[in-house]
């Protein structure tokens, strides 16, 4: 059944279970509210994807971790679905359609006004990547960055799911800060598993995973916020250089000065 929350999603709470070795997770609970952004960090195999899977399946103490995921403070019905939108490195467009047709189909399937939404989705997508996405572009001709930008704008503006899980979407040639802003501005809860330092610090909080357990919840400090600002500039420079070179232009040291 599609999860129906009459008065809207107010919170998602992850109650800790046990790590790989059966020890209780050091972080006993994490509460997320609409507009919150959480990064999951840790080496491969530390349990990031498993935590995303627990959220997606609304764990009721019945997964390997023994975690519980509560919706508005209560256990969701055992077969509830539709809470979560996902975006990963493997996600592609498989539809043979133009951008306009695609947005229209999605909007109509959600009972929304496609004609009003199309320009908004395009406008938002085009704040996320260097090359403009046009309504008449075939989906299959979009670059990796354009496709990610369109997916994010579409999730923010059309998808019903109040929670967005992002698994390892890195270096796709999009403005990462802006992408996260677009999602949190539309009152989504955004959880991102990542190895990218810029993405990690963009989230006000990050959950450190270790041995399958939630090990530490870290809030970005004042110093880290400064670091984030510097890293963001480096990232923008990389993106700028990338776009210039792709367009056949040349680079000077001034173009990439921080």
């Amino acid at each position: 059944m599609i999860l129906n929350i009459p008065d809207g999603l107010r919170s998602v709470t992850i109650l800790g279970g046990t790590d790989k070795f059966g020890a209780p997770e050091p972080v006993p609970s994490v509460e997320l509210r609409p507009g919150d952004a959480l990064a999951l960090v840790g080496p491969t195999g530390s349990g990031k994807s498993e935590l995303l899977s627990d959220i997606e399946q609304l764990a009721l103490g019945d997964t390997v971790s023994g975690r519980h995921v509560l919706v508005n403070g209560d256990a969701a019905p055992p077969t509830a679905t539709g809470l979560v939108a996902t975006l990963s490195q493997r996600t592609n467009f498989v539809m043979d359609a133009t951008v306009a047709r695609f947005v229209t189909l999605h909007a109509e399937s959600r009972g929304k006004d496609a004609r009003a939404l199309l320009p908004r989705v395009l406008e938002t997508a085009n704040t996320l990547c260097g090359e403009a996405v046009r309504a008449s572009d075939p989906l299959q001709m979009l670059s990796g960055g354009q496709a990610r930008a369109l997916m994010i704008a579409d999730i923010a503006l059309i998808s019903a799911a109040p929670v967005v899980l992002i698994d390892e979407v890195e270096n796709a040639g999009i403005h990462k800060f802006r992408a996260l802003e677009v999602l949190t501005d539309s009152h989504k809860i955004v959880v991102t598993a990542t190895h990218d330092p810029v993405l990690m610090l963009m989230n006000a909080k990050r959950l450190v995973m270790r041995s399958g357990g939630m090990n530490r919840l870290v809030e970005v400090s004042g110093q880290e916020a400064e670091c984030a600002e510097s890293l963001r500039r480096i990232d923008e420079v990389m993106l700028h250089a990338r776009e210039r070179l792709r367009m056949g232009e040349t680079l000077t040291p001034e173009d990439i000065s921080l």
Partner: protein
């Protein structure tokens, strides 16, 4: 013993979905068993036995319509399942022509669809999709969120009451929802006198009995001819 029928086109991930569900059930002490109905060959019984150590049987229809063969052998499959000590017997069908559905009234019915199949896939699956209780959508991790939602909408438009469950056949994410549903499935004591949800196709022409030559003079029995519409040209 509980019973569930599983339908779906070839290669959509029926066996993977059953493997993940069976593994979860086995962990909570339920003993699953699988009967796979297929046409010419299947190694799925070996997969079930080797990967999960659960009883598994293959039934090959050979020259008979695989769906007719399936209906004719449901009782025998149930007898085997009971003797194998199964708590839940999964009847996995070949899923070839989509003219009919293997689903039975009063028995939980699951149809697997592949999200890469396009938005017309639910409609093309006919009664197997429209008469199922649960539609499992696979390979969702490969398509955009929007396409997932459009696909679910297409499923709901051919079957508004079915529960839609997304299962990743590689990682098993989503199978947990099926496990939770399986706990509520009823026990079925026997299938004698049970009724199929949809009729099977008529198949009594010369080709049903092994004819291979093409031409009107070799055709006898139940032969239907293509009606050419005016707008076809």
């Amino acid at each position: 013993m509980k019973l569930v029928t599983v339908a779906g086109a070839p290669s959509v991930g029926k066996t993977s979905v059953i493997l993940h569900l069976a593994a979860l059930l086995a962990k909570e002490g339920v003993r699953p068993a699988v009967v796979k109905f297929d046409a010419l060959s299947s190694a799925d019984d070996v997969i079930f036995r080797e990967k999960l150590g659960i009883p598994a049987l293959v039934g090959l229809s050979d020259y008979v319509c695989p769906d007719h063969y399936y209906v004719s052998n449901i009782e025998e499959a149930c007898v085997w399942g009971r003797e194998a000590g199964a708590d839940l017997l999964v009847l996995e069908t070949a899923g070839l022509c989509h003219r009919c559905a293997p689903h039975i009234k009063g028995v939980p019915a699951l149809t697997v669809l592949d999200s890469l199949g396009g938005v017309d896939a639910p409609r093309k699956m006919g009664p197997a999709a429209s008469l199922a209780d649960i539609i499992v959508v696979t390979k969702c991790d490969l398509v955009s969120q929007a396409e997932r939602e459009v696909f679910d909408f297409a499923v709901a438009s051919v079957n508004p009451t079915a529960a839609i469950v997304h299962v990743n056949g590689l990682t098993g994410t989503g199978a947990l929802h099926l496990q939770r549903m399986a706990r509520t499935w009823p026990r079925v004591d026997g299938v004698e006198d049970a009724v199929l949800r949809y009729s099977m196709p008529a198949s009594i022409c010369s080709y049903c009995t092994g004819e291979r030559r093409i031409g009107r003079r070799y055709q006898s029995g139940n032969v239907e001819k293509l009606v050419v519409a005016k707008e076809a040209a």
